[in-house]
């Protein structure tokens, strides 16, 4: 019994790959999930919102300023300044909608002209002719509109006391009857105080907010005291919103595993002496690796195609109207993951080592890159970290194709990053493969 225990521990101690899988991988994963979902290091994700104030009334300004100071939101009223445009103009309803469609933000709020005349509504079926706030959203992000709605409700309750009182008076007189002169005087005195208070808050907020056009704010509710009309501007025509997302997300993760495993054939060939024999023929190392890269790219692309065709057949994924975008993104992604696999294989000394390294890296990349859960659930820091993964660029590209219906030309950032990363990874792999060339 003791001898078996001793033997098992001695074997484990000398098997670095098994040690890594046993201890480093679970701790690494625990840390990633803790950072994403835990409360440490200010990890609460902030929802990006664009606000277009077409009303410019006291009420709308108060509401906007309240939202600007809400910690859970990242509110913009105009694009970020750049060298070309140091003072960019405020968003319009059109540019805000375009930003939602492009995926720059998940939600845009349009406060229409005339909203301030009648900002609060009570009861169902009332106020059919009031100007409702428009909430434009990307339905792939189910969380953001809910958050914005809640914050809008909160902002109305806290930032518009005078407006609420005034509207209360109107509704009282409408449904109960006219106030007596004495009641009206007391009401108006109190209302004057609330208006001064509301104005003071607005001025203070405006001063603070002007320093940073992109600061935090809060939202409201769909069915609360502020009437909101919601409209999905992205994915309205998609019958299964998340199918295309997960086809890409899960697909990329498994492509990475397949590519690593397939590239591991190099290690088998090195072990068996076949690699030596091939290199003693006319085939050089660069040709050999390029051939394997091409094979692994085609294999990955075929795998991805099979997954999307399955998605079409079973889950009604709209594949056939997106063929050009799918081809571009599929081949770019396949190339990048194949090069990633080649690099890992050329780095590892044994199959076991390759298995441990690839499992650790791929699961980490997949979790922070959005293959396991959408990146909008993550903190800003994690979302930025995710940009260093192949998963996030591939998923973004496929989302553009299948969700946002964007043209192939709009894919250039994702394609450039994936192809560039693939080329760099391949060159690195080629560099490490020198150990097999000669002894």
């Amino acid at each position: 019994m003791f001898a078996i225990l001793q033997t098992a521990f001695a074997s484990l101690r000398r098997d670095r790959a098994a040690l890594a899988l046993a201890f480093i991988l679970p701790i690494g994963f625990f840390s990633i999930f803790a950072v994403i979902f835990g409360s440490m290091h200010d990890t609460v994700p902030r929802v990006k919102v664009i606000i277009v104030d077409q009303d410019n009334s006291e009420a709308s300004k108060s509401l906007v300023n309240a939202l600007l100071h809400e910690d859970t939101l990242r509110v913009s009223t105009h694009p970020e300044a750049s060298k070309a445009q140091p003072n960019p103009p405020d968003y319009t309803a059109q540019s805000a909608e375009a930003s939602v469609k492009a995926g720059d933000v998940s939600v845009a709020l349009i406060i229409p002209q005339g909203w301030g005349a009648n900002p609060i509504s009570f009861g169902q079926g009332q106020d059919q002719n009031t100007h409702k706030i428009q909430l434009l959203n990307d339905s792939s992000d189910a969380i953001a509109p809910q958050v914005v709605s809640g914050m809008l409700q909160k902002a109305a309750m806290t930032s518009l006391p005078a407006t609420m009182a005034e509207m209360g008076q109107k509704y009282t007189e409408k449904y109960i009857g006219t106030l007596t002169p004495e009641q009206r005087k007391q009401w108006n005195d109190n209302l004057a105080y609330l208006k001064r208070l509301q104005q003071d808050r607005t001025q203070t907020s405006a001063t603070t907010a002007s320093a940073s056009p992109t600061s935090s704010s809060s939202g409201s509710g769909f069915n609360g005291i502020i009437s909101v009309q919601t409209r999905s501007v992205v994915g309205e025509s998609q019958n299964k919103p998340m199918i295309s997302y997960y086809a890409a997300a899960v697909g990329v993760m498994f492509l990475l595993f397949t590519a690593s495993s397939s590239a591991g054939a190099l290690l088998d060939e090195a072990d068996s002496g076949t690699l030596d024999r091939v290199l003693s023929s006319r085939i050089g190392m660069t040709t050999l690796l390029a051939g394997k890269l091409t094979y692994n790219t085609l294999l990955a692309f075929t795998q991805l195609t099979a997954m999307f065709v399955f998605g079409w057949a079973v889950f009604h994924l709209d594949l056939w109207t997106h063929i050009p975008g799918f081809l571009v993104m599929g081949l770019s992604t396949a190339f990048a993951v194949a090069a990633f696999g080649m690099l890992l294989a050329s780095l590892a000394k044994t199959r076991a080592q390759l298995g441990a390294i690839s499992t650790l890296l791929i699961l980490t990349m997949s979790s922070i890159g959005g293959s396991m859960f959408p990146r909008y659930l993550m903190s800003d820091a994690m979302q930025k970290a995710g940009q260093f993964t192949l998963n996030s660029w591939a998923i973004d590209g496929f989302t553009k194709v299948f969700w946002r219906d964007q043209p192939v030309t709009a894919l250039w950032p994702q394609v450039a990053v994936l192809l560039g990363a693939g080329a760099v990874l391949f060159l690195l792999g080629r560099r490490f493969a020198r150990r097999w060339e000669f002894s």
Binding site: S272, G273, T274, R277, S280, S281, I283, S439
Partner: protein
């Protein structure tokens, strides 16, 4: 075997000033270990040179230097006048490594096609050459069998066939019979003899002396990275033993008595048997008389002409298998 005659006709035509293989002052070190220590060799057209030595003697490093897989620290290797790593040298060389360097999931024919393409063959030439190689290795009926499912001997033969798919003029065989049964070994010998008959020049490394005796025109004995003897089988034996023979006696008795008896007749104990070198067969009676008078009982007695094993033992004081 008519196909054999056709396919290797070009190898037989190798002539000219440049030798198939010339190695001069080759040195290869791996850290503090000197695997090859100043080896110089030549290979004549159509010749089979045996490189004999125990494990770790430097045979495989020498072969890998010739095929350009090892960069020597010093010295040169040229194949028909071209440097070992040149395209011309690679085309002229066929390498049959000790390992089964084939694709186990491909069939025999697919393996041949793959390696043929690596060597630049294509089209009908590749098909023709592949067919010939299957025939040469007696694997025609196994052409569609996956390599991983072949018997050990068949895998060895496929490993050899893959090495000559491109009709090399010089073939390097690194212990091609390791781990095969006697029947398969004989089949491999026949393949090598067929190849030789067509004029290919061969370098054959082994630590089986009987293989070297049977197949090689000339033998180089390698130990600790150096060639310690080189010549034909007869030359090596003559230079070490002259006209002498060996007597191997298995005896019983006290170890001290046996050791004293052996020493009196300039013999040695090898693997439990007493070995003596004699000039005349009449010396045997003297040995036996002395044994009897020393109360040593004789179990078995053999008279043997010295062989490569004896030569190696004589030169190094060690068994070839050590």
């Amino acid at each position: 075997m008519s196909a054999t005659t056709v396919k290797l006709a070009s190898a037989a035509a190798i002539t000219g000033a440049t030798l198939p293989l010339e190695i001069a002052g080759l040195v290869k070190r791996f850290g503090s270990l000197t695997a090859v220590d100043g080896i110089s060799l030549t290979l004549a057209p159509g010749e089979c040179l045996g490189v004999l030595g125990p494990n770790g003697a430097g045979k495989s490093t020498l072969i890998r230097s010739i095929v350009g897989r090892v960069i020597p620290n010093r010295g040169t290797v040229s194949i028909f006048g071209s440097a070992a790593q040149s395209t011309a040298a690679r085309q002229a060389l066929g390498w049959i490594p000790q390992e089964l360097a084939i694709y186990p999931r491909l069939t025999c024919a697919e393996n041949l096609i793959a390696f043929g393409r690596y060597h630049g063959l294509s089209g009908s030439k590749l098909k023709e050459q592949s067919t010939w190689c299957l025939e040469w290795a007696a694997l025609t009926d196994r052409a569609k069998t996956v390599a991983g499912e072949l018997s050990g001997g068949m895998k060895r033969r496929l490993n050899m066939a893959v090495g000559i798919i491109h009709q090399p003029k010089v073939v390097l065989m690194d212990e091609p019979t390791v781990g095969v049964d006697p029947q398969s070994r004989n089949r491999i010998f026949e393949m090598i003899e067929a190849l030789r008959a067509q004029g290919a020049s061969l370098i054959y490394t082994t630590h089986y002396m009987e293989e070297a005796e049977r197949l090689c025109d000339r033998i180089a004995i390698v130990d600790h990275g150096r060639i310690i003897a080189e010549g034909t089988y007869a030359e090596l034996v003559r230079s070490s033993f002259g006209s002498r023979s060996q007597v191997i006696a298995r005896v019983t008795g006290s170890p001290e008595t046996i050791a004293a008896w052996t020493a009196r007749h300039n013999g040695r104990i090898v693997e439990g048997a007493a070995e003596f070198t004699i000039e005349q067969s009449t010396e045997i009676s003297t040995l036996l008389a002395d044994a009897a008078s020393s109360a040593i009982e004789l179990e078995d007695l053999a008279l043997r002409r010295p062989n490569l094993e004896s030569v190696f033992l004589h030169l190094t004081g060690r068994e070839l298998r050590d």
